[in-house]
């Protein structure tokens, strides 16, 4: 607010000194619709509130969006004059503002950053460990959930931080000898969960009983300590092709049987169930399988028949069995001896688990902070250890004075309890709930110091804390040197942790987190679920982004490309032949397949539909917002959305014509409707279609407010291709917002423009965009 007031004053003082061409211009061309009488699009220019409005006027003039075609047009000379005046005035105001006003936003770690940071701090395997499940979800601001404005702190969250710190400390502090190994083994019917069988040496999963198999001892005692375990079992696929018809069992006898291993915890509930491996089991031949995996304390594991018969066993017992034997009665309680062995079955002969195994003990995440603990660790060792931890956890150099309160707490606890490891646990907890851990190290204004820069960089590219190398370059200050900074960006993008950037940024930029909010009807879209298309679609878009990020090409490929990434199911969905196997790969595309660029991605097409039909308005808004960077204004509060009154209307286009008759709607809808309607060839889950019904062809023609006419999605692609800088500007704006973790201010415009210009010169390389963002003044200062 102070910033805004200041800006207004600055602007008007600057303006009063100069010649003012704006006021007459506004009077002549704008105030008719945006003045005292009318406030189209909720805009009113007879009384201007702040510099953001000036920026907005400049933008629409630059894009020739305003005044509308059918209104009086300014001359080129007038236009140039006003634009030049606005541009220079805004630049001066920005410069003035930058010198005087900082815009640092205090930013805490969001949930995924918190999780990644604890992972890297203690070198945890986070597979089944998530202390943040009860955290409240982080709010998004401008589409991103790492924005400091949205990352508020509440009493509820603080309590959660306390609980999480306890869990983390309990897990991290593991002194003492290597945990003892367990070895549980069961043979045949000692294995739990099997169907009552006739042969004691076999635990079976049958047409009736397909309950997961497990080890009774383990189910009772659970995994005793985090570590690497070995799961071993012997299994055989029995009677894969049997007398039963596949449709009776709802089963595919052509596939080899598959057995999957799940990790689960009854206490943590259904969410703590995860498949960690799947194996093909050969027909009528015993196979022995060993699976090595990391398991967390308190968990257990089970075996499942991944592709066994489907549906209720009651149906099979009541409807199917009597079809095949006259000796069965209709109710389901026939003696099991009558049907066990008659159909396909998965037989398990033995099941065992052994572990934990460790490459190193004590664990590296513990030994790093508590190296070689003396036999009787004392307060001095406690201080030293906690200081070692704080140096890393706080992501900045710590002083003895700054740390003293934490150390004092821990020492006091040591005096009270006389238990060193309890005190250490207490100390670790106090560090983990410290603001220095929870908030990013930025204070004051001006250029970032090397530690602040390191932190910005690693939360941008890794959503996690800086690693040792980055920290070293921060400690000696070399990170401030542009070549070193560039080298670090290259290194970090090559690290597996950069996956966080790919998924967090792509998902939020493109709104992919909406996927699954309005899922398609399972009855009408069976393959969407059977082939797990939702995650395949997400994967496609992420891979596409990752591919470009690896330095492989121009970010204009987002607009159109002759390749994409798919597995067999997704290719099938897209109507592309000849792709086998569930692994994702790069595939080349023909124009006739209509899949180039983001606009052909099922993820986006599905996320902008409601699960039943397409929503052209949403798709139009999506393009304006995420590709063109010109989000329409939200609908005015006094206008109800058009009820889908389908009387006398046969297509969505006709329904949307209604916008045309209402000028209030038309103002904005003339921008989004044509874009959305041009994409009507993609249905609600992104499959291509030429007609709605047999008789009803799709009309995908559209005309933009600037007079561009196009037909179908190709038209949109060409429209975007003709505006590479506008798209680049949009993407840069999004990425910069994500990188900075704050809303962009109009003072950031110059840097933004400069980044876009440089990237355009570099063939629009996406990797270069990341480099330029990091190198920019705005990223390197607070």
């Amino acid at each position: 607010m102070i910033l805004r007031l200041f800006m207004t004053v600055a602007l008007f003082s600057t303006a009063s000194a100069a010649e003012k061409p704006l006021a007459p211009f506004l009077r002549a061309y704008c105030l008719k619709c945006h003045g005292e009488q009318k406030q189209k699009g909720d805009r009113r220019f007879d009384h201007i509130a702040g510099p953001e409005t000036y920026q907005e006027i400049l933008d629409v003039l630059n894009l020739a969006e305003m005044p509308p075609e059918d209104e009086k047009q300014p001359s080129t000379k007038q236009l140039k004059q006003v634009v030049a005046w606005l541009t220079s005035t805004l630049r001066k105001a920005r410069e003035a503002a930058r010198e005087n006003v900082g815009k640092v936003v205090l930013r805490r770690l969001n949930r995924s950053e918190y999780l990644n940071t604890t992972r890297d701090l203690f070198e945890f395997k986070m597979i089944d460990f998530d202390p943040t499940t009860t955290f409240p979800p982080d709010d998004s601001v401008d589409g991103f959930n790492n924005n400091g404005e949205g990352l508020v702190t509440s009493d509820h969250l603080l309590r959660n931080y306390l609980a999480a710190a306890r869990k983390i400390a309990d897990k991290a502090i593991r002194p003492g000898p290597r945990p003892e190994r367990i070895h549980y083994r069961a043979e045949g019917q000692e294995i739990s969960g099997h169907s009552r069988g006739l042969r004691p040496e076999i635990a079976r999963m049958t047409i009736k009983d397909r309950q997961p198999l497990g080890l009774r001892t383990l189910d009772k005692r659970k995994i005793p300590a985090d570590g690497e375990y070995l799961i071993r079992f012997k299994a055989l696929a029995y009677n894969r092709k049997s007398r039963y018809k596949d449709e009776d069992l709802r089963y595919n006898s052509d596939e080899p049987m598959r057995l999957s291993i799940s990790i689960d915890s009854r206490e943590l509930g259904a969410t703590a169930h995860r498949i960690i491996g799947e194996y093909e089991i050969p027909d009528e031949k015993i196979i022995e399988i060993e699976h090595r995996t990391w398991l967390d304390r308190g968990f257990t594991f089970h075996l499942h028949w991944a592709n066994g018969p489907n549906g209720s066993f009651k149906r099979i017992m009541r409807k199917v069995l009597p079809k095949y034997t006259k000796d069965a009665i209709y109710p389901l309680r026939n003696p099991p001896e009558m049907y066990i062995g008659s159909g396909p079955e998965l037989h398990v002969y033995s099941l065992e688990i052994e572990g934990p195994f460790y490459d190193q003990w004590p664990l590296p995440g513990f030994a790093r902070y508590f190296p070689n603990p003396p036999r009787r660790p004392d307060a001095a060792y406690l201080d030293a250890s906690l200081t070692r931890l704080a140096q890393r956890a706080f992501r900045r150099p710590v002083t003895n004075a700054g740390l003293e309160p934490y150390l004092k707490l821990a020492r006091q606890h040591l005096t009270d309890t006389k238990d060193f490891w309890k005190a250490a646990n207490y100390g670790v907890r106090s560090l983990l709930v410290s603001p220095s851990f929870l908030y990013n190290p930025e204070s004051g204004t001006g250029s970032c110091n090397p530690h602040e820069l390191a932190s910005r960089l690693s939360y941008f590219l890794w959503s996690s804390m800086p690693d040792d190398e980055l920290r070293t370059h921060a400690d000696d200050g070399s990170l401030l040197r542009p070549p070193e900074l560039q080298r670090q960006v290259t290194r970090m993008l090559g690290d597996p942790k950069a996956k966080s950037f790919v998924s967090n940024f792509t998902d939020q930029w493109l709104g992919l987190r909406k996927l699954g909010e309005m899922p398609p009807d399972p009855e009408k879209n069976p393959s969407y679920y059977a082939d797990n298309l939702e995650s395949a679609m997400k994967e496609e878009t992420r891979r596409f982004f990752a591919h470009l990020l690896a330095g492989n090409g121009s970010l204009l490929d987002f607009i159109d490309s002759d390749y994409t990434f798919a597995n067999d199911a997704l290719a099938r969905h897209y109507g592309i032949r000849g792709i086998d196997g569930t692994n994702f790969r790069k595939i080349s595309l023909q124009p006739s397949q209509h899949r180039g660029g983001l606009l052909g991605h099922g993820s986006i097409l599905t996320a902008t539909s409601n699960g039943v039909e397409t929503q052209p308005v949403l798709r139009g808004v999506w393009i304006l917002e995420n590709l063109l960077g010109t989000p329409p204004n939200p609908p005015p509060p006094d206008v109800d959305p058009i009820e889908p009154d389908t009387r006398g209307v046969s297509t969505i286009r006709e329904l949307m014509e209604k916008h045309r008759n209402n000028p209030t709607c038309f103002e904005c809808h003339r921008k989004m409707d044509p874009l959305g309607l041009a994409m009507e060839n993609y249905d609600h889950i992104g499959a291509w279609r030429d007609r709605y019904t047999k008789k009803l062809r799709i009309n995908a023609k559209g005309e933009m407010p600037d007079g561009t006419v196009f037909d179908g999605v190709e038209g949109i692609r060409n429209y975007l291709k003709a505006r590479p800088d506008q798209f680049t500007h949009c993407l840069t704006e999004k990425m910069l917002t994500y990188a900075l973790g704050r809303r962009l201010a109009f003072t950031d415009r110059d840097d933004l423009a400069q980044i876009v210009e440089t990237v355009a010169r570099q063939n629009y390389n996406l990797r270069e965009l990341v480099q330029q963002i990091v190198a920019s003044e705005v990223f390197r200062s607070k």
């Binding site: 042969r199 034997t325 109710p331 003696p335």
Partner: protein, 326 residues
């Protein structure tokens, strides 16, 4: 002409070869010996020879004879439940002999002479003599052992069973048993049943598959390669899949029946139901002394299924004997 002759010769040779490969058949049928006197069935009375035989073959846990010796013979050798024997039909022995089997007789205590003629059929009834029952069973065990040893070659099918329950109660798993002979209960028909056939399977197995006396007929027809005459009706099911250790229940029986005049009972692996409406869970109540618990949710359905089996028989069908006791 010469060619024809050659053809004829080779044909003959094939037939002879096929005949040579058919297994010998030895049926040892004890009279009135229940499981409660055979130690491999958990009796405390020792029958070392039968135990050895069980070790060489498959021992069936659940095999049912008919409810008296005469009817048991009928079922075994005619392959039908006695109540279903409406007209005369050839016996198993007739068919085997007709197919070229040599019948060998065996005298109790006499020398066993196995002539060179193969395949042979040896049918041997071993009654339990009069006197001390335990002593007689011991003698029977010795005789059976002697027979088993004498016929112990690779290509011989040997069945040891009994026509019904014991007249003198023995013990099973240490528990006193009721008199089995002519008892209208499981113990009246639940007999020892051991098959040794080295050419089919390795020995030492215990089978929980169900079988009753009608199953021998189709089994031997299949083993002796005899096509079933069209008019011949059989009630049983071949035991070969069971003997070979098949896991497929559809190739095996899921119920068995035993009869005496005006009475019939059926059982599966766990439950028994008879025409007098007595229904019991044999796992929990082998001596059939208690009502099935009303809380047992499965039992009514099991009963319903056994009733369905019993309903397939004519009620009050006359039961008469067709063959003379061998």
């Amino acid at each position: 002409m010469k060619r024809l002759l050659l053809l004829g010769c080779s044909l003959l040779a094939t037939i002879a070869n096929a005949a040579d490969q058919r297994p010998n058949v030895v049926l040892i049928i004890a009279h009135d010996l229940g499981r409660d006197w055979v130690s491999c069935y958990e009796s405390d009375h020792q029958t070392p020879n039968l135990d050895r035989l069980a070790n060489e073959g498959v021992r069936y846990e659940t095999a049912w004879s008919m409810l008296d010796a005469r009817l048991s013979h009928d079922a075994l050798l005619l392959g039908r439940y006695p109540s279903r024997l409406k007209e005369r039909q050839p016996s198993l022995i007739d068919l085997l002999v007709k197919a070229g089997y040599t019948r060998i007789n065996y005298e109790i205590d006499g020398e066993l002479k196995l002539t060179g003629k193969s395949p042979y059929l040896l049918l041997c009834a071993l009654p339990v003599g009069i006197g001390n029952y335990a002593g007689q069973v011991k003698k029977l065990d010795e005789r059976a052992g002697k027979l088993a040893r004498a016929t112990a070659d690779e290509n011989t099918f040997l069945l040891f069973t009994s026509t019904g329950g014991s007249p003198v109660p023995g013990k099973l798993n240490g528990d006193e048993q009721p008199v089995g002979k002519r008892a209208k209960a499981d113990c009246g028909a639940h007999v020892p049943f051991i098959i040794r056939a080295p050419f089919l399977f390795k020995g030492g197995r215990v089978s929980r598959d169900l079988t009753d006396f009608t199953d021998l007929f189709p089994t031997l027809l299949e083993l002796a390669n005899i096509e079933k005459p069209n008019h011949l009706k059989l009630d049983g099911h071949t035991l070969l899949p069971s003997l070979r250790g098949s896991d497929d229940p559809f190739e095996k029986r899921n119920w068995v029946v035993s009869e005496s005049s005006g009475f019939r009972m059926a059982r599966d692996w766990h439950h028994i139901l008879d025409t007098n409406g007595r229904f019991h869970d044999l796992d929990k109540d082998p001596l059939q002394q208690h009502q099935v618990s009303v809380q047992d949710k499965q039992a009514p359905h099991r009963r319903q299924r056994l009733q369905m089996i019993l309903d397939r028989f004519e009620t009050n069908a006359e039961v008469r004997s067709e063959t003379p006791t061998p």
